[in-house]
């Protein structure tokens, strides 16, 4: 590859030859067919138990919101896939005042499924490889997914506060600029839930026959012809 000036060298951390993980799926076509077969199953299961799937991310986001914005957030609850973030504010004649004085309380719903669909997507990618010890190897990818999805729920809540409470929220010292909140929200809702499973899948299965044959073809020419 002379035009690029550099080439991807076989990574020392990628198992090669007989040390390579012997995954069940070795060809791209087989992998794609397995993913397409598993996606409906994983999505149906996810939709049926979406509160449980979202629970770790919801708990994490609740802790972050309460620690980050103790003067804004009152309570965070989860029901039927919707995380409800109750604030300490109420509204009277367009002014945001203490909820107790206002006699009402502002709360903002967050659809956790907009984040948590990343999990059935990853599960389909994961088991499409038919990995050995598939369930135990699912643990750390789920941890990372829940961590990022939790941040996504925080970013969505911050966007809701920004649009709902306006300067009452944005003027707080702990709150970043409106542009930063908008960027974080866009990234965590549009990009992260769909992209993150793919990134984690590539990292998790970089030593598989399928991926290592593609990623380090120069070192393993025979495998590249699968």
């Amino acid at each position: 590859m002379p035009e690029s000036g550099w080439r991807l060298k076989p990574d020392a951390k990628i198992p090669q030859g007989k040390d390579r993980e012997d995954e069940g799926v070795k060809t791209l076509r087989s992998f794609i067919l397995h993913v397409l077969a598993l996606l409906p199953l994983s999505f149906l299961l996810w939709y049926a138990i979406s509160d449980y799937v979202a629970a770790p991310a919801y708990l994490l986001s609740g802790v972050i919101l309460n620690v980050w914005l103790p003067d804004v957030v009152d309570e965070v609850t989860l029901r039927n896939g919707t995380m409800m973030v109750s604030t300490l504010f109420g509204e009277v004649n367009g002014a945001f005042i203490d909820a107790y004085i206002a006699g009402n309380q502002l709360a903002y719903p967050v659809d956790t499924r907009l984040q948590s669909y990343a999990i059935p997507f990853y599960v389909a990618l994961h088991f499409a490889m038919r990995p050995k010890q598939g369930l135990s190897r699912l643990a750390w990818p789920l941890m990372i997914l829940w961590l990022v999805l939790g941040l996504g729920l925080v970013a969505t809540s911050a966007k809701n506060f920004m649009l709902g409470l306006g300067t009452t929220f944005l003027d707080l010292s702990a709150v970043p600029t409106a542009d930063a909140i908008a960027l974080a929200y866009q990234f965590f809702t549009i990009m992260a839930p769909a992209l993150l499973p793919v990134v984690i899948w590539i990292y998790t299965f970089r030593g598989s026959t399928l991926l290592s044959s593609l990623l380090s073809a120069a070192a393993n020419p025979a495998q590249a012809m699968d």
């Binding site: 690029s4 992209l195 073809a217």
Partner: protein, 166 residues
Amino acid sequence: MTRFAIIFAVLLLTLFTVELLEPVQRMVVQPFTGLLADISAALMMPFDGYVQSSGRIISHRETGFAVSIEAGCNGVEAAIVLIAAVLAYPAPIAKKAIAIGIGFLAIQALNILRIISLFYIGQWNLDLFTWTHLYLWPVLIMLDVLVVFLLYLRHLARQEVASSYA
């Protein structure tokens, strides 16, 4: 792999931020989204004379149902992921350009299928529309990106094998 990951992440965040800038949205993304709506409507019109498009909105004159193609639904973010991945992976410039061109067309072809399918699913069942729009189609579009990128890697691998035996 580490170098690829770093370049990919930097390119991804840079392109994503640039895409959100107001001038880029006004001069590139929104006109492109309008074009997508026009193409989608043009594909439907021979089979359904009630379909019309205006800007980013596709509507049905008989049922009154309309969809507006918004950020996240125009395939631009998916294209950004593919562009970042292809640029980050070591290969000749010409191959990168061809991969981005073909990949962009593959993403947009599936995206137009998404728009058309959602337009009719929405007229049939709004709950199913919400489900497929918000949860299922984003996954299928990203799967499309992954498949295009893996096919590109396989093409590069085969070229590498061919050149090693030449």
